[in-house]
């Protein structure tokens, strides 16, 4: 049973509580609360500019909340002793030094995080990128960058994966691969939180959804409670 311990107690991996963020006069996120359970893929849905990226970055300690808290396994991200071994994050496909090779990028991260170098080939194999390990990232396609970002996130073998629009720039085959990949991670018992504004791709992937718009929660729960996800979603964001 996903999300429950052996004793049947509900395990909450990511807890967002009354989270708010203002950028000057702009209320990016307002009083947002939701939870993410292990062993499931949770879709984080909302139109462009709904506050998804800001929320994910607050969970990851990159953006400081104006108020409220976001915790992973009960502690704030900045208080995690070894964050790479708890949480893997895929944020934007462009964030690499173009002169570095894929292997150098992974070595810099694994060195800083104290992860043995044997892990490099493992994660490169996981995302089918070993053939390009020695190439400069500057020459990578968007899809290859996305795979490298996922490989980076998996370096510490984390129990939580957070992905911001991972399907952006992927071709249909890549999206198909990603869907299977995320499902496999969840079956492994990991908590996977994945944001997207492309509904058709999400409906087939997720077990649970959190829908936000204008920085506020519209609905959350198991995906089968939503009936036709696209219809329900459109009703929610239009109302």
């Amino acid at each position: 049973m996903p999300g429950r311990s052996a004793t049947g107690r509900l395990i909450i991996v990511i807890a967002v509580e009354k989270l708010s963020k203002r950028f000057g006069d702009v209320r990016a996120v307002t009083d947002l609360s939701f939870t993410v359970l292990p062993g499931a893929v949770t879709g984080f849905l909302g139109p462009n500019g709904a506050g998804k990226t800001t929320t994910l970055r607050m969970i990851l300690g990159l953006v400081t909340p104006t108020s409220g808290t976001a915790t992973v396994d009960g502690v704030r991200y900045v208080d995690l002793p070894e964050p790479m071994k708890s949480v893997g994050a895929v944020l934007e496909s462009t964030a690499f030094h173009p002169a570095h090779t894929a292997r150098t990028h992974l070595r810099v991260l694994s060195t800083a995080a104290g992860i043995p170098t044997e892990r490099l080939d493992e994660v490169l194999d996981l995302v089918d990128l070993r053939y390009a390990a020695g190439r400069r990232i500057g020459g990578f396609s968007l899809g290859m960058r996305q795979r490298l970002a996922i490989a980076s996130a998996l370096l510490g073998d984390p129990s939580v994966l957070i992905l911001d629009e991972p399907a952006n720039g992927l071709d249909p085959e890549g999206i198909h691969w990603l869907r299977g990949f995320l499902r496999a991670l969840a079956v492994d018992g990991r908590a996977v939180l994945v944001s997207s504004h492309v509904l058709t791709e999400m409906a087939k992937t997720v077990d649970a959804v959190v829908v936000i718009n204008h920085g506020e929660l519209l609905a959350s729960g198991p995906v089968d409670e939503f009936g036709d996800l696209e219809d329900t979603y459109l009703q929610l964001v239009r109302s």
Binding site: T53, T54, R57, L60, G61, L62, V63, T64, Y77, V78, L80, P83, M84, A89, L91, E92, T94, A95, F96, H97, P98, A99, H100, T101, T104, R107, V108, L109, T111, A112, A113, G114, S152
Partner: protein, 249 residues
């Protein structure tokens, strides 16, 4: 902290080697010019020989840029996101960058000495000038030390001014114009400015800033080194309080 420093050194050596190479080449070019053009048989003396060896610190502007790049390239390529994800305690990230920049600066300093020193010795002997003076060890050690310190100083500036172009521009304008003008107007501050203390730390103190501040005005070598570290740490602490804490979006 050691693993973080290792990661920083790895990151830099795999992408910005060319700046270090330019710094070393600059030193070699200056050394050749010094011996071939500026030293004349009728004026050659111990100070002239020292000055030739002191050219191994002439790459300091490029080493400072190297220090700036060490920090600002992370913002420019947005890889700072990865750095803060791996190490969310941002002060540790900045500290590791300062330590790594010092180490890299010292390595560049050693490389400059290894290239420039033999070159100078060969040229001096070719011209039948004296090849050695009692000051040479101090000049050589000082140029390694000051090169490391300039790299550290650059990293401090880069942490405070996260934009690569802005940081390099500000550093250049300061060293070549603002500091100069300041010392012109108030000569007494020359010994306390970054260039003044950098010169002091280099052990080669024929002149402080051009001919404006006489050599006797420079602080002792150890004090120059301490003050240079002080400038870098002050910039880094200011960076931690002002720019480093900002949201990474």
């Amino acid at each position: 902290m050691i693993t973080l420093v290792k990661a920083e050194v790895l990151r830099l050596t795999r992408s910005m080697r060319w700046v270090a190479v330019i710094a070393v080449v600059m030193c070699a070019v200056w050394a050749v010019l010094q011996v071939v053009v500026f030293i004349k048989p009728e004026t050659v003396n111990e100070r002239a020989v020292d000055s030739a060896y002191s050219m191994s610190q002439q790459g300091y502007m490029f080493v400072m840029i190297l220090g700036i790049l060490l920090v600002t390239s992370e913002y420019r390529h947005r890889t700072i996101t990865w750095a803060f994800l791996v190490t969310p305690r941002r002060g540790r990230v900045i500290t590791a960058k300062l330590v790594a920049s010092s180490v890299i600066g010292l390595v560049v300093g050693v490389a400059a000495v290894l290239v420039t020193g033999p070159l100078v010795a060969i040229l001096l002997s070719a011209y039948d000038y004296p090849v050695w003076t009692a000051n040479v060890p101090a000049v050589v050690l000082g140029s390694v030390l000051s090169t490391g310190l300039w790299c550290l100083f650059g990293a401090g500036v880069g942490a405070l001014i996260r934009n690569m172009v802005a940081a390099i521009t500000v550093a250049f304008v300061w060293v070549f114009y603002a500091e100069w003008a300041l010392v012109m107007m108030v000569p007494a501050v020359g010994r306390w400015t970054p260039t003044g203390v950098g010169k002091a730390a280099s052990g080669w103190n024929r002149d402080a800033l051009g001919s404006i501040a006489p050599a006797g005005d420079l602080v002792p070598m150890w004090a120059g080194a301490v003050l240079m570290v002080g400038y870098a740490v002050t910039a880094a602490v200011a960076a931690r309080l002002i720019t480093v804490r900002r949201d990474v979006t």
